[in-house]
Structure formats: structure tokens, C-alpha cells
Amino acid sequence: MSKKNLLVIGNGMVGHHFLEQFVATDAAADYHIVVFGEEPLLAYDRVHLSEYFGGSSHTDLAMGTAEWYAENNLDLHLDEQVTGIDRDAKQVVTPKGTYAYDELVLATGSFPFVPPIDGNDRPDCLVYRTLDDLDQIRASAENGKVGVVVGGGLLGLEAANALKSLGLQAHVVEFAPRLMPVQLDDDGGALLRRKIEELGVQVHTEKATTAIVDGEDCRLRMNFSDDSHLETDLIVFSAGIRPQDALARSSGLEIGERGGIVINNQCTTSDPHIHAIGECALWNQRIFGLVAPGYTMARTLAGALNGDSEAAFTGADMSTKLKLLGVDVGSIGDAHGQSPGARSIRFNDEASGVYRRMVISEDGKKLLGAILVGDNGPYDTLLQYALNGIDLPASPEALILPESEGGAPALGPDALPDTASICSCHNVTKGDICGVIDAGCQDLAGVKAETKASTGCGGCAALLKNVVDCELEKRGVEVSTDICEHFPYSRQELFHLVKVNGIRTFRQLIREHGQGHGCDICKPTVASILATVWNEHILATDHVALQDTNDTFMANMQKNGTYSIVPRVPGGEITPDKLIVLGEVAKEYNLYTKITGGQRIDLFGATLSELPEIWEKLIAAGFETGHAYGKSLRTVKSCVGSTWCRYGVQDSVGMAILLENRYKGLRAPHKFKLAVSGCTRECAEAQSKDFGVIATDKGWNLYVCGNGGMRPRHADLFATDLSDEELIRTIDRVLMFYVRTADRLQRTSVWLENLEGGLDYLKEVILEDKLGLGEELDEHMQRVIGTYQCEWKTAVEDPEKRKRFREFVNDERKDPVQQWTTERGQRRPVAETA
């Protein structure tokens, strides 16, 4: 049977979501799917557009990847605008050709409304919707000092934030008497205004612009109907959206009086083979300008095309929770109390800047709507009351009063009915979550992967975690601890998220799966995971701010703020020439030198600005970084082995050098060490290492998960009489399995003790390949090894990276706090004066 053609016009968030939903249905196999996008870029996240000015790139904001489209056999035509639909011939026309369809989906979105003002087409009069628009705003802002946003709604305030982040003096001009007139009331709008004015954005309400003319001090001047005016260098119009319905209009589909492609409950237009979803669609005389209802339409249509007779779009909740210019704003349901008999309870704390309003039904039993400004704390609870029609408690005001004045009763996840909607983006109910948990999901990451809950706007992350924790606890599952307040995941779960979702930056991970801005716990952990999975340079722009100072400056910070340097000496073997270089460099920079426990030489007391100079000299002499600063391989200790020793049975130095060069640079949950002994006398103390290798007359015995230090542990014998190849493959696999599954800062010894099934299980996984992971682990290790670079070599050769190694960026003086004394012939910091 030949395939039918499904054409999708529009590659925005909703269009992309439709594809995600549809390719997962059985019907997808019956269709050849072609996607047209007017922009040259793949669908991206317009909700977080302002982050583009904060350093995010299209890649950070992208919804999917070209690979994903290819894998799903989606025929993608970007930068190709559909110019006409021939409904009789059932084909669409583009400048590049005509394409036949059996079913056609319009996901053309909307365009910004530009009010009809004289002069609105001047240069520096811009809109805020696409990345291209943002590039134009950025270009215009470069030569300006002042920027105005016309429109004080949700998008307008986002745009003002963007102007502010570009360094402009930002103004917001709103026609209505208050900001966010749709979502807020007068008191809420007034508080929001006060807060954002405190942040330096000037707000002008009740202003109708009559003309835009040449300015005197700035490029432009806006004249208002009350004879006042405002000078500005650029204007961004954000006065609402209009459905992009031109194609539908010209092809004779039914269009609403004020625009919008009319659709029924199945998202089908007046033509049974043409469908419309998202902001271009008009349902029940309404346009939905938020992403969640668009997603609901996308899901509905995917279901309907798959033959689901019950799939229907029945309206959408327009509640919103967001942070505008750093200020919490929430609006739920009937926020203005327009329902008959509705009454309000208000809490207005002008001192601390918190406004809350509840709209309750005439009988006082149900919550109809709410407004929050300044603190969205009660939002999740209020939303659940409103959406699920849960009876309010006896004193409903307690829900919005500060805790000290009566204790806000949080609505425990247990109190929610199974029908309660937890994630409105992906329409996941509490019942759905219980379902996947009953089917075997044991953690939050699993629930997210199965249901997609909290992977849209992310607003329900906290609630989802509460529900999952509560349900797991009810089933007797111990709830794992979160890594920190920013991520409700363990390191292993984060590793999985990064790998499965192809996440390459911290920013993307925290936006999609966490909250806030990160901290000194999660940032280095994620940096280590990214390094393990993708192996990019740790000083690459996206990663540099994530690292501990030791990783950032690739040296070990000591108590007085100076650093120590440990060049790699593989296997502890070093030529006299190299020894001399170490001595000469130490002498030149007056560095204290000490032999380490790992058969290397540590050079102490280098200042930040000396580090690259010293490394230039060391690299010229053939040294590489020793990663003494990293959570990575330190050293492979060895005895001298059969080459010299009367008792040695294998070349332990040769094997140690081979292993050290193989694993150098690999990022792990913690540091790890190896050792190779040339005979059973065990002079290299291999059984106290993470991986210990002891020579036998038939090959090598491998011991794993030993430790010295604070909590010594004898390594366990893992395999005997291995050949060189077997030894390397076995270490590869155990090491990579550890890297993938251990918790943050967990040494191999503790990891093994916590591994369910212990040593026997580890043997089954590695030696018998019980999980079928072997090849994948091999492949991953091979990739890491293949992309090794000496971080110091890369850094000293890159002037941009070298710039980081300045004590003071405006002054070449040395750090004045460092005071030195001499002891046993070497320089050391002065002892603390107490």
C-alpha cells in the first residue's frame, strides 16, 4: 500500500509538538510526512526567547534536532514558505515546487500586532517574536541608549527585560490603566508596576501613541494623545498577536470575524482534510495565545488522525505562572471575579510587596480564580483547588495568608483526586502518574520519561516531585535524595537525562529539568557529566563557569590562594632531562617542590598569572597536565617490574604507562587511581587502589574498588590471569559503568558497597554482559579516549582562554595578600597569625 501524504505547514513549538505526538501513533506508518518552516531554523522555544540576549543560542532554545527529524523520516523543508493551497487538486505551492497532500495541518502561529500609528514603519521600529527579530533588536540597540516597548502585557514585559539586558534604559508604554490588564486587577497591576520600576524600567500607562517622528536627543520621538511625548532610540511593538491565517483565507477556508481559522473540537477546519492548531486556530470564537492550549490541540489532532474517536479539544485553562523581570506573577481562572455571585479575599502587603487575591464562589466552597504578584508560593496549591473543584477548607483565607499568621495549609498530593491535572502542557493527571509507577517506574526521572510530565514549561516540577515522592512512599519505595535545591535528581538520573536527551549545556539542563540558577554543588557535578558524555574542553565558553576553581584554572588551589602544579609522569617513569626541567622551572618561579604519594612531583606556590607561563615551559619540555585538580585519573603507580627486578614476572611499568595514557582526562564522579605490580610481592600497593593490577606468570590479576586514604578498603579480586587485551577491556567496562552509575563524589569503594548485588552483580554485568551493555560501554570509552586533549596545551595556545589567568584584569600587580617565609631551604606561606 502506498503511503498517504501528511503535510504540516509551520515549524514552531506547536507544529513540532504535533510531530512528536503523531510519530508516536500507529497511524504514522501510513503517512509520508512533510514539514514546511518559513524560518531557516528548526522549531525553537519562543517562551524563553529573552534568554537569547542572556547568552543562549538557537541550539539552547531548539525543541528538536535535525537528527530527530531524520530518524523519524520527517521530510523537513526549512526556509521554504508555502504560498498557496489548491484545495481542489489537494496540493500546496511553494517557490520551490508543488506538493500533494491527503491531510494538511496548519500550524502557522501568529504575528505581532503593530498598531496603526503614523511612523510605525520607520527604521528602529521592531517586533519581538523570532530570533531574527531579536537580532534586529540587538543591532538597533548597539547604537542606542533608550528603548521603548509598546504593550504592557506578558510578552511586552518579556521584551522590556530583553531591552534591559541589552543595557538600554527601558520603558513600557501601555494603553490600558495597568500592566497585564488581562491577568491582573488594579492592585496587582500597581504592585507589579512598582516592582519593575524599582528595577529601573519606567512604566507609562493610559498612553495612546499618535505618531512616531524624528527625535531630538534620541533617534525617535513618540507623541501621545495627551500631548506628552517620549524620546527613544528604538521601539518594540508587543501589543498582542494576530492569527497567521493568510493562507487559509486565500484558499477559502472559514475564517472568524476578527481573524483565526475556524476549527471544530477535532481541530479540523471547514475543509475535512485540512486541520489547524495553535495560535492560528479559532475555537469557539477564541484564540489561545499560550503554548499549553496549542499543545493540547496538537495532541487532540494527533489522536484524531490516529482514529481516536474520543479525541476532542474542549477549551483550555489559561492560568499562568511566570517570573517577569524577576517578579513573580500568577493568574488563575476567573481572576477578575466575573462569575455571578463571585466574592474575593485579598491580601495586600505593601511593605514586603506581596499581593494575593482569591476569587471564590457565592457559597464560599470553590475557588474560581486567583491573582498573585510578588510571590508565587501558593500558586500550585490554588491551581489544584481551582482546576479540580476541590472544596475549600473552612477558613480559605489561610491559603493566601503568610505562614506566620495562621499557617497556610498546603494541599498534600494525597488530597488530589486521580483526575487532577498535574502537567497541563502534556496533559498528565495524577492517575497517569500512579499508572506508570504501578507499571514499574521507581523514580522521578522515569515518570518524566514515561509521561513527559514537567518537560514542557516546567512550571509543575515541584508539584510533580511531591506527587511522585508521595506515591512512591505509599508503595514503600525509599525516595532518593536530590543533589541540591536546583535539581530533584541524583547524579545518576542527571547523567541519564543528559545522555538520553542529548543535553550539552548546564543552562539547557537546568531550564528543562531544574529550577533557579545552580550552585557550587550541581554545577561541577553537571560539568563532570557533560565532560564524560561529550568530552568538550572544560574551559569551553559554556562550561567554564561550572567548574570548581581547581578545574577552572587547572591547578590545585592552596590555602593562600596560590596554586600547585602536578605534571603527568606516567607510571612514575621520568627521564633525567625532564627532571632537570622541573627543577629549573621550580627554581625560576621559586616553587616549593615535594614528591607525591603517586610517584609524581608537586610544585607549590604559583600565582594565577604564572600558571600559563609555567605550563608553556613544561609543555615545551614534553609534559602534559596531570589532572591533579580534576575528578579524574590521578596516577598509575608501578613498581619497576620484570625489566629490572629479579622477581618481576611482567613489565609493570609498561602496563602502567599504557593504562595511564588510556584513561588520562576521563571525568568521573570522583578521582580514581590505579597501580600495577610486577609480581605477587605487590610493591606498587595495587590492592589499595580503585583498580589494582598484579602480574602473574600467565598474565594479570585484576582487583577493583580498593581505597587508601581516610577509609581504607582492600580491593576485591575481580578476574584472574587476563591477557593484556582482556585486562584493558575489563577495566574499560568497570570504569565506564562506575562513571555512569555512581553518585556525586562517590569513590569506587563506596559505589561497590552500595551497588545492589555487590561484587557478584558487578561480575555478571561486566564479565557475563548480563545487561547487554558491554559494547556500549566499550564504544563510549573509545570515544572519550579518541577525543583526549591536553587541557593545558589547548589553554596556553588560546589567547582568549589565557585571559582568564589574570590576577586583576586592570592591573598587572601581584596579589598583595601573599606573604612568604623560608623553611628548610624552600619558600612557604607564612603561618597564620592568631
Binding site: 547568552g55 533557579g516 550552585c519 557550587d520 576553581t549 589574570r806 586583576f808 584584569v809 600587580r813 596579589d815
Partner: protein
Amino acid sequence: MTRKTTQWHHLCDVQDLIPESGIAVWTPAGPVAIFYLPHQIPSLYAIGHHDPFSDANVLARGITGDLKGEPVVASPIYKQHFSLRSGVCQEDDSVRVPTFQVLVDGEQVLVEVPATQRADAVA
């Protein structure tokens, strides 16, 4: 207000800043750390570079982030967190590092510092 005891200084340029991280500058009032957090508002912060716990000039080299919404930097030596807004140590609120006003004028980063050496800056 007639007495003017502080002054704005052009101490570095925008291109010297490192997103989500800090740099150190030398000022008449001693070493100052400037942090650039493009995803937070405000996005620029300046506090003393000197870490009172270790007595070393290192705070610009700490990891930035937020704790319960408060923008902070963690000292790279003993890991105490300092608020970038108030300078108060989050683990011990009796300890505070100085804070300074900072702004961007075109390509220049300006910091307002006392005209003379502060008592709590070590030089």
C-alpha cells in the same frame, strides 16, 4: 547630601566579563570581584575579592549561583556562600564582605568605590 566620599571608576570593559562567573579588579579601595550573571536581574554584582575566612584574595574565582533565590558566590577555599547583593555570609551572618555599586556604560564597566582604602580590604 554634600559629602562625596565615593567615586565611579572605569575598571574593566564588558568584554573582560565572563558569563556566570567572576573576575577580579584592583581599585583604590583594594581588590574587588565583579560577577556577571546574564540570567539574573540585576546581572552585574561587585563585592570584595578578599575571603575573610581564608584571608586570601579569591572570591572572584568561586562558583556562582543562587541559594533559595539569593544570588551567591561560594568561596573556592572553604566553600562559604556570600550574598552578591548584601555581602552577608550565608553560613555565618556576622561575617560580611563589602559590596559596591556597578554599572555598564557602553563598553565600560564602572564600579563605585570609596576614594580611599577601606579598612576591611587587605593590601
